[in-house]
């Protein structure tokens, strides 16, 4: 069969792939995207989007209940059913996935449902429901993403031992839930489940929850979670789980090494993610891969010329927005090479200016250098903090737990990084991110007039604190 010729073939229609495909099509490239599963990838279907829906409803539920009780109402949870909240999350995912399909179509990106294997520098074999087809491309983008990591002793059955996918797809709440891994995913589910009244136990191997975030932020989150009744073991090693008919027993050893047995109804394993690179034929192409991650150079090109990679399969942070940005850059680069459109030379994905966020309550968001990494790299730095307690808005909305922490250069006052924990952290992080990217200093931020009362004022106050003259503390 004659191979179909394209300028640009994208493998994987997640946030990296579909953005790249649309951008490429906008730039006039004949583009196809190959997807073996659902358009939109993990983020839209079994990740960020449905989980945000659940978090939203969980928050309404918990806060509504709290308010009613505070105002003396007797709250009877009889007849409570999780299913409508769950259906809302599926509806959101479904809607957005359809939206992406529509966008692909609108931009004349050909969507090919099937599993792709690279047969050479420019050939792609796709196994579809109707047999195998061959594609030819002048450039290829790998954006195949990742899946939950499996660890021995906790093999997913998606009934009692769940991955994040299984968790998102289950229509019913367990009575008790054990969560292995207190990273962003684990803590978000811990929040949702706790809010809906599930008895939650979290175990983390490292000495603190959210180990990738700032240490102080971890502490605040951990304290809040404990206050809500979540049981947390840090420094805990899990050795395995025994699955019985109606329960699961998880074997742990705590920070002191004493063995623990935890009986639960279901266990969620969220200990990181594994890259989806098997079966793509990469070894045969001589591609540089280290510890499962594809090594990329300028413009996200792999060691194989003309083959690019973005997203979770690369060494960048595993975040939807990094993948999307990198995908855009690749599309622009390929269009530049093939069509002479402007080179995205200035659109680099600057690792220091990528925000990450955890959407539990309180929210956590950060970017750039943390205090720990500044210390480790021996970068001259100073730290300024401002607690939410000193912020009128935060107090008014009963969210006084939180803080803004800015890492800055003591000489130039340049902003090196920031970490926010508390109300609206994932939104407010962007103003200080923008300031840092635009090379504004804490002095500039401190000088800005902020609307009062807003949570954003915490950033201004932290900047003033950096200069030694915060007002409200």
């Amino acid at each position: 069969m004659e191979a179909k010729q394209y300028d640009f073939v994208v493998i994987g229609a997640g946030p990296g792939g579909y953005v790249a495909a649309i951008r490429a099509a906008q730039l006039g490239l004949a583009t196809a995207v190959v997807e073996k599963n659902l358009v939109g990838g993990v983020c839209l279907n079994i990740g960020c989007i449905p989980s945000k829906s659940l978090i939203h409803n969980a928050r309404l539920f918990a806060e509504g209940k709290k308010l009613l009780e505070k105002c003396g109402a007797k709250v009877d949870l009889g007849g409570f059913d999780y299913a409508p909240a769950w259906r809302a999350s599926r509806l959101a995912a479904d809607r957005l996935s359809k939206g992406v399909s529509y966008l692909l179509k609108k931009n004349s990106v050909e969507l090919i449902q099937g599993t792709a294997t690279l047969s050479g520098a420019s050939g792609i074999d796709v196994a579809t429901a109707n047999g195998s087809i061959q594609l030819k491309a002048k450039a290829v983008l790998l954006a195949t993403g990742s899946r939950p990591r499996l660890i021995p002793g906790f093999e997913f059955d998606e009934k009692k031992i769940l991955s994040s996918t299984g968790m998102l797809m289950s229509e019913k709440l367990p009575k008790r839930l054990f969560i292995l891994g207190a990273g962003a995913i684990g803590m978000e589910f811990a929040y949702v489940m706790n809010a809906f009244g599930v008895e939650v136990t979290v175990a983390e191997l490292l000495p603190r929850v959210l180990p990738l975030e700032d240490e102080e932020a971890s502490k605040i989150v951990e304290k809040e979670f404990r206050a809500r009744g979540v049981v947390i073991y840090t420094g805990a090693k899990a050795s395995g789980a025994e699955v019985a008919d109606d329960h699961v027993v998880v074997h742990l050893s705590d920070a002191q090494g004493s063995p623990l047995e935890i009986e639960t109804d279901a266990a969620l394993v969220s200990v990181g993610r594994t890259t989806n690179i098997d079966g793509l034929g990469l070894e045969k192409l001589g591609m540089r891969i280290e510890r499962g991650y594809i090594i990329t150079g300028e413009y996200h090109e792999t060691s194989c010329a003309g083959i690019y990679a973005v997203g979770d399969i690369t060494t960048y942070l595993q975040l939807a927005h990094t993948a999307s940005k990198a995908g855009e850059i690749v599309a622009e680069r390929v269009a530049h090479l093939l069509k002479g459109t402007p080179d995205p030379r200035d659109h680099v994905l600057d690792r220091l200016h990528v925000p990450s966020a955890v959407y539990c309550e309180p929210e956590v968001a950060s970017f750039g250098l943390s205090e720990a990494s500044a210390k480790e790299k021996a970068v001259p730095y100073a730290v300024a903090r401002f607690p939410y307690r000193g912020n009128g808005r935060a107090v008014a909305v009963e969210a006084p737990e939180g803080q803004v922490k800015i890492v800055f250069d003591p000489d130039t006052k340049a902003i090196l990084g920031a970490s926010i924990v508390g109300e609206s952290a994932a939104d407010t992080i962007h103003e200080i991110l923008l300031a840092s990217k635009a090379e504004l200093t804490v002095e500039d931020v401190a000088e800005l007039v902020y609307a009062h009362p807003t949570v954003s004022e915490t950033i201004m106050e932290a900047s003033k604190a950096a200069l030694g003259h915060a007002i409200h503390i």
Binding site: G120, K284, G286, S303, C304
Partner: protein, 324 residues
């Protein structure tokens, strides 16, 4: 030295023949690809000399033995077991090549198969090979190193220095001089003080062997003997008299020798002779030989297709693989 075919099992004979024919087919294809400009630079073909690499290397235990050679290295690489795909891709300069396209024809390496290259400076690999043997001795691996070089390299000072070192430390090494009779465009007789290189071994207290490099079994039995000695700490020198059919490299117009001379040697072609012997002894049938050539032909075609379809190295590869 006449060798009894009965000495070897059929599978072993077929293995040796397969190596020879694979090298031949690979080299013929490489020549074509060079003509089609798929391969650039210096490309030294091994056509005509297959019996030496095949006979010598097939006698090794490559779980512990090593092979080191010069720039006419395709044959040795294949004899050591390098995948022809990786070799061809390297010739094409592709990222899938054994050296990610950074070595090219002269610098094939395959650490997994104990093939340590692929050296482009005449005679420079000789002390390196002694070092590999030194390491084998030092670590007590029981391994032997085969060091291949040509009649041209023999006149380098490194030969003297290394012969001496090999003997004073009794390194487990066999030096194999592939005398293809032409050092680039210079006939060996014109530049050599001896008419048998193996004669020089005696001057270093080593044993010297000479064998007909066009007779694969003679090469094989000679090297077997030399390797066995080397394992006991007795290095030796072997001259295998052979002939190359093609120019020194692909850009050689070969004005220095006559077509008649080449044709004369082609009549004594090592592969044809071996096939004739095997068929004569009823070890190999016409049918089997045809199957083998077809199978190898297809394999090399596949190698070319693989090389053709493989990606170029990205520019970022410029800075990799230089420092550990």
């Amino acid at each position: 030295m006449k060798t009894d075919l009965a000495h070897y099992r059929k599978e072993e004979l077929m293995r040796v023949l397969t190596i020879m024919q694979t090298i031949r087919t690979f080299e013929e294809k490489a020549g074509m690809m060079y003509g089609l400009r798929k391969i650039g630079g210096f490309c030294h073909l091994y056509t005509g000399q297959e019996a030496v690499a095949a006979g010598a290397i097939s006698s090794l235990d490559l779980s512990k033995d090593y092979v080191v050679t010069a720039y006419r290295d395709h044959g040795h690489a294949i004899a050591c077991g390098m995948d022809p795909k990786k070799a061809m891709a390297e010739l094409f300069g592709k990222v899938t090549g054994c050296s990610h396209g950074k070595g090219g024809s002269m610098h094939l390496f395959d650490l997994e198969h104990h093939f340590l290259g692929g050296n482009g400076i005449v005679g420079a690999q000789i002390p390196v090979a002694a070092g590999v043997a030194f390491s084998q001795q030092y670590q007590g691996t029981g391994g032997v190193t085969l060091c291949f070089f040509g009649d041209g390299a023999f006149h380098q000072g490194s030969v003297h220095e290394t012969f001496n070192l090999a003997k004073i430390w009794n390194l487990p090494i066999v030096f194999i001089i592939e005398n293809n009779q032409w050092g680039m465009g210079t006939n060996w007789k014109k530049v050599s003080a001896v008419d048998d290189f193996s004669a020089t071994a005696g001057a270093y207290g080593m044993k010297g062997y000479s064998c007909d490099g066009l007779d694969v079994l003679e090469v094989r039995t000679t090297i077997e003997k030399a390797v066995a000695e080397a394992r006991l700490g007795r290095p030796s020198v072997v001259e295998a008299r052979t002939y190359r059919y093609k120019g020194h490299s692909m850009s050689d117009p070969q004005k220095y020798r006559t077509r008649e001379e080449i044709d004369e040697y082609r009549k004594r072609d090592a592969i044809q002779a071996f096939v004739a012997k095997l068929t004569g002894e009823k070890i190999l049938s016409e049918e089997e030989w045809k199957d083998m050539t077809q199978r190898i032909g297809a394999q090399i075609e596949e190698a070319v297709a693989f090389a053709e379809e493989s990606p170029e190295p990205a520019l970022s590869e410029l800075y990799t693989d230089i420092y550990a």
